[in-house]
């Protein structure tokens, strides 16, 4: 089971936090800090895997991947396959990329609600829900249409150029 999905930037600021087992807010922050503590010490060209026993309890692992200024982290137990988790993360990122055409940190910051929507189409209750990014896109577009239909304000997928720079 996937226990959590965390996106944070290279300063350790959380950009998306989703746990599939309830964690009180203090614990969430503690977990994010511990993960960041481990990740920021990782060299380049090393594996994407870390045993997370000391952070999450026995038998937990995490995979992470850096995309530009962001760390994507999946936390899961031994019932999942590490590389498959890495693939799923790639699907998540590719979907974000399609959604925001060339996603960057700022897109995720200002559209964190949309990122939640996308993630909910990929992972449900800690299980893999959908692995095809085009299927995910279809579902997300459908939701956008519904939002548009009842909301005069449009969903602009691209950010304002001035906000692009960090």
């Amino acid at each position: 089971m996937i226990q959590g999905v965390v996106v944070m930037n290279d300063q350790g600021k959380p950009r998306l936090v989703k746990f599939y087992d309830y964690q009180p807010v203090e614990r969430q922050q503690e977990l994010i800090r511990s993960i960041y503590g481990v990740l920021c010490n990782r060299a380049e060209n090393v594996s994407n895997f870390i045993r997370a026993d000391s952070i999450f309890g026995p038998d937990t692992r995490l995979v992470y991947k850096t995309y530009a200024t962001l760390y994507f982290v999946f936390i899961f137990d031994s019932s999942e396959n590490e590389l498959a988790m890495l693939d799923l993360m790639q699907v998540f990122v590719e979907t974000l990329d399609k959604c925001f055409s060339n996603v960057c940190e700022v897109d995720i910051v200002f559209n964190f609600n949309k990122v939640h929507t996308i993630l909910d189409e990929i992972v449900l209750g800690g299980q893999v829900l959908e692995t095809s990014s085009s299927e995910v896109m279809k579902a997300v577009e459908e939701i956008s249409k519904l939002e548009k239909a009842s909301n005069s304000i449009s969903l602009v997928p691209k950010s304002i150029p001035g906000w692009q720079t960090r």
């Binding site: 590389l83 498959a84 929507t117 829900l129």
Partner: protein
């Protein structure tokens, strides 16, 4: 403009981003929270849009790490909003903020259910997502049937159905009763025929959860899983959108193989063959390519296939192929694959027969200890630790020691612990073990726990041969300029005990030893000073004749510490001062420590505990777990062998309480405060067996070979009657109406086990019960190995011991269920209270399918197990024999109907029991004189003497005289020997245990000859 579609939210987010520091951020957040709170309080006039905006802000604030303790109601209330955007926010934010037990969530159950059963599919999706993420027991009870309906509905879109599958999984986890197995297994099988890969992937996750709990109900899904794998691996009918970097849905392949690992085996040969074809194709057809994502995907499938192959216990050829692949992986450039290669090789260690092939990669694994990635280094360490055995311990431990100097700080503790454990477990010789531990302390003293140095002291104390060596080594380390405090402790302890063994070496006279140790005193802590004081006292005691100069120096130190603020040091100083002035009177008290009672290494125990902590879920891991926990059971019992637990290293030997009492006038103080540990002097000779023979699992043979099978058939044919009779004869209590026939003769197996300490006690088509025993004096530790030979569990397993009155037997807990193909170990502790030939009976029963099997088995805890051979010389024998003058201590009997055998055969038989044949004591070549020691709690160690007179003309009769200091023992031993001689178990297949030479001494010897004396005594 609003990126999120809400201007207020975007403004708030950019405000937060513009905060220069945490302080400002908090101020901005507090302001916003205040604002939101006011708006919520004044709910009238709040539009759904505004509510939505505020609720998103709350989630954002929550993500930043601030507690949001209000507004939950508003979030939940949005769930029943009529419009999609508000409803969606309500669902998403509620799922993030609330936990399953939140009261507000309960209030929303109805609204959520309305969405689930409503017609609007997008609403259904939202509701299923929320329930799948945070639904609890109450949701399970009220929603499960609706969710099941959606999952199997043919009119629902796949988008809804795949969510329903995972939602049901969550509800099932919360309350397993919501899935009624009976009806559901067929439905589940139908779901696996699904064409849509999204629905199929979710359904497979559901199946994994179901089979993990109860695979028996889902056998019909197994062939379907294999079909799915075939379809994917052939890329049949896999739509483009489910092909990920050219690999047909790697997730579904992985999940399907995961599901298969929860089935204990695959019995149908066709299914098995198809599966192995697929697996073979995956194993052979995967290459490392340039594209990282493609690599990850193809190897995700490959590693899962490897796990499945391991689980299925493929034939050796395929296993070797897997190891070869893994060997390739641990050397590739891709760090992820190196990592998983090492991890899977570690798992592979669980598979029998491949360890040797894995060892071929040892050099590469050792190289991985230097990998730039700490994750990989850790995996390499785990693997080296797992693959270490007696054959490669030296290489591996020395590598670890070398690596210790350069290892990351974070790894050193683990590394030193592992090195210490391996050194102890697999030491080829004890001096090497001492070397390793001292090096360890030298290189990483900070990480060496007390357990480690206590253990080395115990082992040195218990091995006289080792003591001079350890003392030399300890002395050498003291010459180093800066040594760790632990090294000071261990060296001081060892030199205190054994430095007198080095007296003749240069630099090792008492004065020199004292000086070099005393140099360290100013730099060490109080606990070490206490040890040093003991060392000084010991040095003083060993210096004979006393060296007045040394004496004065040491007394001055004692005197100085008599007023030390640390009570322990003060007490030692006072006591040692007084004791050492007593001269010879103190020798006894200050003598070398007696051997430690054998006990389990605290270190090994610790290692096992941590291993058992990591509970893992998958099937392979379950097996691995069984192995560790079994080891745990065994060793848990091991130290409880009736020895008193001695938790600390006492430094001063107190021979017995009475000694202290005798001198109690001036020594009363020594008993206070427990400074002097009273070590119970056990009349035991603990051989230091660091490994503990019992740790090695007894190999239980697999199912009987064809030959044995046909034998069995023969027996159950015309001779079936005698067979049953035999079983009955062995079951003195109760009647046995078993349909299940034992394999082999229970009686023969028992007889065999009376003469040896390991073997099979009982076997039938379902179970094999093996025994391994260890006897020491009147204690015994008997391990029962209950091995389930089948692919289904044995249930209602019960084992009762019906002990005779002279045996105290404690059986550890026997699990009620023995998992398929698993072996469970149950230790039995036995204490022999007195001599008796009565036999303990194991009343064992279990259920397999409809067969209830109950057998009553004699346990080979028989009289001769408490015998130990002892050879007596003529000088010892005759006075004893003479003093035991007649009944009831000495009994004579004529035994008839003896199975004819030569005298050498008989002597051989006695040696096996074990009795010691003393050739030459009896002048008559046709007679045997035999001695042995019998141990029981009542009699303690008691010498038994036996004389057998045979008649070469008639080998079927003999005269036997038995003598011992206990009438019951004499009688029981005599009867026991009679039984053995009359019905002799087959011993022909036993390896010849050096037949004692019974030399015919023909010449009539002089009266001074002991034999002649014996003859005189006997007649």
């Amino acid at each position: 403009m609003a990126l999120s579609g809400m201007r207020g939210l975007s403004v708030f987010i950019s405000d937060i981003r513009n905060c220069p520091n945490k302080e400002q951020e908090r101020l901005r957040v507090d302001k916003e929270l205040g604002n939101v709170r006011t708006r919520f309080k004044n709910e009238k006039g709040l539009t759904h849009y505004e509510k939505k905006k505020y609720v998103w802000k709350m989630l954002y604030i929550y993500m930043l790490g601030y507690d949001v303790d209000f507004g939950h109601m508003e979030a939940v209330s949005l769930i029943s909003a009529p419009k999609y955007p508000e409803k969606q926010v309500g669902y998403i934010v509620t799922a993030c903020l609330l936990n399953e037990n939140h009261d507000f969530l309960r209030l929303a159950i109805n609204a959520i259910r309305n969405d689930v059963i409503g017609r609007n599919e997008t609403f259904q999706c939202l509701a299923l997502t929320l329930v799948g993420n945070i639904g609890g027991r109450e949701f399970a009870e009220s929603l499960a049937p609706d969710v099941q309906k959606l999952l199997i509905s043919s009119s629902c879109r796949p988008l809804v159905r795949k969510k329903a599958a995972l939602c049901l999984l969550r509800l099932y986890r919360k309350n397993p009763d919501v899935v009624i197995v009976d009806g559901w297994s067929d439905r589940m099988a139908q779901l696996l025929d699904e064409r849509d890969l999204g629905v199929l992937t979710s359904s497979m996750s559901l199946l994994v959860a179901l089979v993990a709990n109860n695979h028996n109900a889902y056998w019909i899904c197994l062939p379907k899983c294999v079909k799915i794998l075939e379809r994917l691996s052939r890329n049949n009918d896999v739509p483009q959108e489910y092909t990920y970097y050219g690999i047909p849905s790697p997730w579904l392949q992985v999940k399907t193989m995961r599901a298969l690992q929860y089935f204990p085996t695959i019995e149908d040969p066709n299914t098995r063959r198809s599966l192995f074809e697929v697996l073979q194709r995956i194993l052979m057809g995967t290459d490392v390519v340039k594209n990282v994502n493609k690599n990850n995907a193809s190897h995700a499938v490959l590693f899962e296939a490897l796990a499945l192959v391991m689980h299925l216990d493929a034939e050796k050829e395929m296993m070797s192929q897997c190891v070869a692949l893994l060997g390739k992986f641990i050397a590739v450039r891709e760090p992820n694959i190196r990592y998983l290669g090492l991890e899977n090789m570690t798992r592979m260690l669980m598979v029998s027969d491949v360890q040797d092939i894995i060892k071929r990669h040892q050099a590469q694994i050792i190289t991985s200890l230097k990998d730039p990635d700490i994750s990989i280094r850790r995996r390499a360490l785990d693997l080296l630790y797992g693959m270490c055995d007696v054959s490669n311990a030296k290489d591996i431990v020395e590598e670890l020691l070398q690596y210790l100097s350069t290892a990351d700080f974070t790894m050193r503790e683990e590394l030193s612990l592992k090195a210490a454990i391996l050194a102890e477990k697999f030491a080829p010789d004890l001096s090497w073990y001492v070397d390793v531990i001292l090096q360890l302390i030298d290189k990483a003293g900070d990480f060496v726990s007390d357990d480690i140095w206590f253990r080395v002291v115990q082992i040195v104390t218990n091995n006289e041969d080792l003591q001079p060596y350890a003392a030399v080594k300890a002395r050498e380390y003291l010459d180093k300029p800066a040594i760790h405090e632990t090294m000071v402790k261990v060296s001081a302890y060892i030199l205190g005990e054994y430095s007198h063994l080095l007296a003749k070496r240069p630099g090792c006279n008492p004065q020199e030893i004292f000086s070099i140790i005393h140099e360290k005193l100013p730099t060490v802590s109080n606990s070490t000073i206490a040890i040093l004081l003991s060392t000084y006292a010991k040095i003083l005691m060993h210096t004979q004749p006393p060296d007045p100069q040394l004496q004065n120096q040491i007394w001055a130190i004692f005197h100085k510490y008599e007023s030390c603020i640390d009570a322990e040091i003060q007490q030692r100083a006072v006591e040692y001062f007084t004791l050492s002035r007593k001269g010879a009177a103190s020798v006894d008290i200050m003598a070398e420590m007696p051997k430690f009672p054998e006990r389990q290494s605290a270190l090994l125990k610790k290692a096992e505990d941590t291993e058992a902590d990591t509970a893992e879920q998958s099937a392979i891991k379950l097996r691995a777990q069984q192995q560790t926990s079994n080891a745990l059971v065994v060793t848990d019992q091991h130290p409880a062998n009736g020895y008193p637990p001695v938790s600390q290293l006492g430094l001063v030997k107190v021979p017995s309480i009475s000694t202290v009492d005798r001198n109690s006038e001036d020594q009363g103080v020594t008993q206070a405060n427990g400074t002097l540990s009273v070590v119970d002097p056990q009349p035991l000779e603990p051989s230091v067996d660091v490994l503990g023979d019992l740790l090695g699992p007894l190999r239980i043979d697999g199912p009987p070979g064809a030959a044995a099978q046909s034998d069995h058939n023969l027996i159950s044919g015309p001779e079936g009657a005698t067979y049953v009779e035999e079983t009955l004869a062995l079951a003195p209590v109760g009647d046995q109406t078993n349909n299940v026939q034992p394999i082999g003769s229970i009686a023969e197996r028992f007889q065999d086990l009376c003469l040896k300490d390991s073997g099979v006690l009982y076997e039938d088509p379902y179970i094999q019960i093996g025994i391994k025993a260890e006897w020491r004096a009147h204690h015994g530790l008997l391990l029962l190995f209950l091995g389930n030979k089948n692919t289904a569990p044995l249930v209602s397993v019960q084992a009762l011991i019906l002990p005779p009155s002279h045996l105290k037997i404690e059986l550890s807990l026997v699990p009620e269920t023995i998992p398929p193909r698993a072996q469970v170990q149950c230790p039995l502790e036995i204490i022999n209270l007195g001599p008796s030939r009565d036999v303990a009976v194991l009343d064992f029963s279990y259920k397999f399918g409809t067969d209830v099997v109950n057998v009553k088995l004699r346990l080979p805890a028989v009289l001769n197990k408490f015998l130990q051979p002892i050879s007596v010389s003529a000088e010892e024998f005759f006075p004893q024999w003479r003093s035991l003058s007649g009944p009831p201590l000495k009994l004579q009997d004529v035994v008839r109907g003896v199975r004819p055998m030569s005298l050498a055969e008989m002597a051989n038989l006695f040696t096996i029991f074990p009795l010691t044949v003393s050739p030459g004591l009896d002048p008559n070549a046709n007679n045997l004189v035999v001695s042995t020691t019998f141990y029981s709690e009542r009699t303690r160690a008691m010498l038994c003497l036996v004389r057998i007179e045979t008649d070469p003309a008639d080998r079927t009769q003999l005269r036997m005289t038995v003598a011992s200091g206990d009438p019951t023992l004499t009688f029981e031993l005599k009867e026991f020997l009679k039984e053995q001689l009359v019905s002799i178990p087959t011993i022909s297949q036993r390896p010849a245990t050096a037949p004692p030479q019974v030399q015919p001494t023909t010449s009539p010897t002089a009266l001074s000859d002991p034999g002649a004396m014996l003859a005189g005594l006997l007649h």
